[in-house]
Symmetry: C3
Subunit: 334 residues, 3 copies
């Protein structure tokens, strides 16, 4: 693995099918969960530089823990708080507020670290800019070392890998019940603020690439996601219909994609409750966290027996560890 | 030791008397001071997560150094600056400013780390809320791993343990002079801002539990502390009387407890000077730091031969190391 | 080496000539570049405390990497963001905004760490205050352990050492062409904000002490630097003349020294372009970064074959490693 930005990065010279490659990565992650220190020497004398242009709790800490499990040192740098504003536009005349160009910062960071990881967020103001992924792409272009996305403007691949690990783990616990593919539902949920589409985009991209589940997306009319990610899924505006017989319900808010970054809808009817959960096949409920309790998702669900959210967040460590291990192995092969 | 929040946490299955348990812990701390790396492998492959909802210098750094001395990795997370506002109330409808509930964050942190440490402060606005210790109690309730207080709304146990280590160490230096218990005075001092009662509460709680010193508390009339901590001490509003024959004078400001969080008094006469120190038995002077020089405590005292403040702050490392070692040993016993 | 604040700190009991001592340090740095882990055990069980009163990217990260290469643990503390305002004035009555006196903080940090490093900035408001270097001098006075400057009010020695390493390395690549000393030009460049004189002062101080290059400084009339640093250099207000036959051009903005901290001039004619570079002996171009592209220095230079800026920033690691190694060796000799 040379980078970890979108689902295609899971492909290897030997494995050309995303579903197979994802299953391989999930297996490696679960092996780390069973034995966190089995590759304690793999990252020895290697350094991971972690740059944050935006806040992060789970992603930062789980990746640091994963690195430590591999004997790799990680150093965190909060660019927004400990540093200064970076410029990403080519040819900019930097007489404004940006202090350093990514063209100057990235190669130096690449000389200090063996692997870099970066978190950026979308502006939610200009769709074209956000979906061009300028920030992370410029960073990759100039860094000269492997780059891991800790969430970018439109995707959150470490989250999606953790999500699939969590589903796979749950399916393994259940054992082989029948040959039917599990039904997986991604449902929009209300929120008080406009949020990125990253988690929803990325989850759709990964589930479609994984192709081991039936996949339905449900959201209010104005909340259609970019079809490059959703293609392959069934889409409905009827949550009731979507939830029927679901085995896994992934709950997440996102702001509008077409009329970009808006909050059109806040109908609490979209919030998952036990009453709505009764429509499903006793579905397990997932969320990437942080979650606004009793706005996005009810206490009764989060504190109930069907919630997988803590397991899912815990699995972030094993996802990051599997990805880091793959990147280190590729590095060592030169 | 399963947690380190209040003085009762020093008790062990074998030692049921707080004074004995404190002396045992002090002895262990002084053994680390003599030989910091004697348990270099004890914390190997264990991780300490340190969460700060408020700023910290000595507490953060001394605890990180203590962890390193035990071969334990520590990771710092400034929740207030690197993360987002946490919700602590059960059943909250999170449509306001709080982004994540402690019920969701704590168990995940507990899955990433073997031991957690947290610093919170009181609001100084609502006494009942502060004294309910909601924040740290909710954290303990949901973390699922041992929790160390790096100062909570009402107590600061690592500070108090360091204070007693410092006194004990000084007594050992003096050698057995006579059989009289040393006289220990906690005196209120002026300050420009309303400060928490934590250090004073905690010092009183620990000295009373230690019971190896005569203990006098002196403060202006309106500054009575919560009796649950002070019970056992002699209390007087006459500083002159209190200082008489004192062997150790602990200087600290706190805001009012009854009419909560107020600054009623700022009389510089309460500031300790060499003139006032002359009333004592050549007493050693202590303060937890940071100290407002020439407001809380005069330069002549802080820079004079009777000040123990640097020793006291240095001992923070050995206090934290003894506590961490005890918690690790309990963890390993399963 | 007992501290690393100004160029004189390179002198050793055996080497009394700064040029020789600098060359020795450069050689050690280049040996680390060739073999970063050759002294992997040197800093084992030692701790570096890094304090930032101002933001830092390269200095912080390169020093942390250098410490790790020596097996030394580093802990970062952003005093301005994670702590509180420090007081530096002797005898201050601390009833204002400063929370802790350096007299109290420094010795404690010295008890927690084996070596301390600190970054402070000038106010650019009061020249006398800034040039007294009160902050770093007070820190050194009270720390009780070796102190490394990560940039102070008037100097930036780790940068200057990296600069000379970079020049020396480039000269070694070229091989012995003739016996002429290389011509080195420090040129002022435009900027939108008033910047410290540190990098320019320090570069002048080091190049003059190194004395292995002909040295010319060029700047607009009002931008004369303090002569204590520039003495020995040829100074001209004519950039064209200065650039003639130059082998290395060091580009940097600074604010006025005499009428202190002002921006008098912003003439883009002072910005180095390929056209102006043509005046030189195909000179290599240097800058300490961060650089305002197309304000201080043009894209065509920064992205062209003559730029050494990335190499120069990369060499920060080896400069810091050579300095840390020297300080550790002195520490171990007791």
């Amino acid at each position: 693995m040379k980078q970890f930005i979108h689902v295609q990065d899971v492909l290897t010279p030997k494995i050309k099918h995303t579903g197979t490659a994802i299953n391989q990565l999930v297996e490696e992650a679960l092996a780390y969960k069973a034995n966190p220190l089995k590759d304690k020497q793999l990252g020895s004398n290697l350094r991971l530089g972690m740059l944050f242009l935006n806040p992060s709790l789970r992603t930062r800490l789980s990746t640091q823990v994963a690195a430590a499990n591999l004997g790799m040192e990680s150093i965190v740098f909060n660019v927004d708080k400990e540093g200064w504003a970076l410029e990403f536009e080519e040819g900019a005349i930097m007489s404004g507020n940006t202090v350093e160009h990514i063209k100057d910062a990235a190669p130096i960071l690449g000389s200090y670290f063996d692997v870099l990881a970066i978190r950026t967020f979308p502006s939610l103001k200009n769709r074209e800019d956000d979906y061009s992924e300028l920030f992370i792409n410029q960073f990759i272009k100039y860094a000269g070392v492997p780059v891991i996305s800790l969430e970018s403007a439109t995707l959150h691949p470490l989250q999606s890998l953790s999500d699939i690990i969590t589903i796979q783990e749950d399916l393994l616990h259940k054992g082989p019940t029948d040959t039917k593919k599990p039904k997986l539902v991604l449902t929009w949920a209300p929120h008080v603020k406009p949020l990125p589409q990253c988690v929803a985009n990325s989850f759709a991209q990964w589930v479609n690439a994984w192709s081991e589940a039936g996949f339905v997306i449900t959201h209010p009319e104005d909340y259609a996601l970019d079809t490059q990610f959703t293609i392959g899924a069934t889409i409905t505006h009827n949550q009731t219909e979507a939830l029927k017989d679901a085995d896994y319900v992934y709950v997440k808010n996102w702001s509008t994609y077409h009329d970009y970054g808006k909050v059109y809808e806040n109908d609490p009817a979209w919030m998952l409750t036990n009453e709505r959960l009764a429509l499903t096949n006793n579905a397990k409920v997932m969320h990437c966290l942080p979650v606004r309790r009793n706005v996005e998702l009810s206490d009764e669900i989060l504190d109930g027996p069907n919630s997988l959210v803590t397991t899912e967040a815990g699995n972030r460590v094993w996802a990051a560890q599997a990805v880091l291990a793959n990147i280190i192995k590729t590095l060592k092969q030169g």
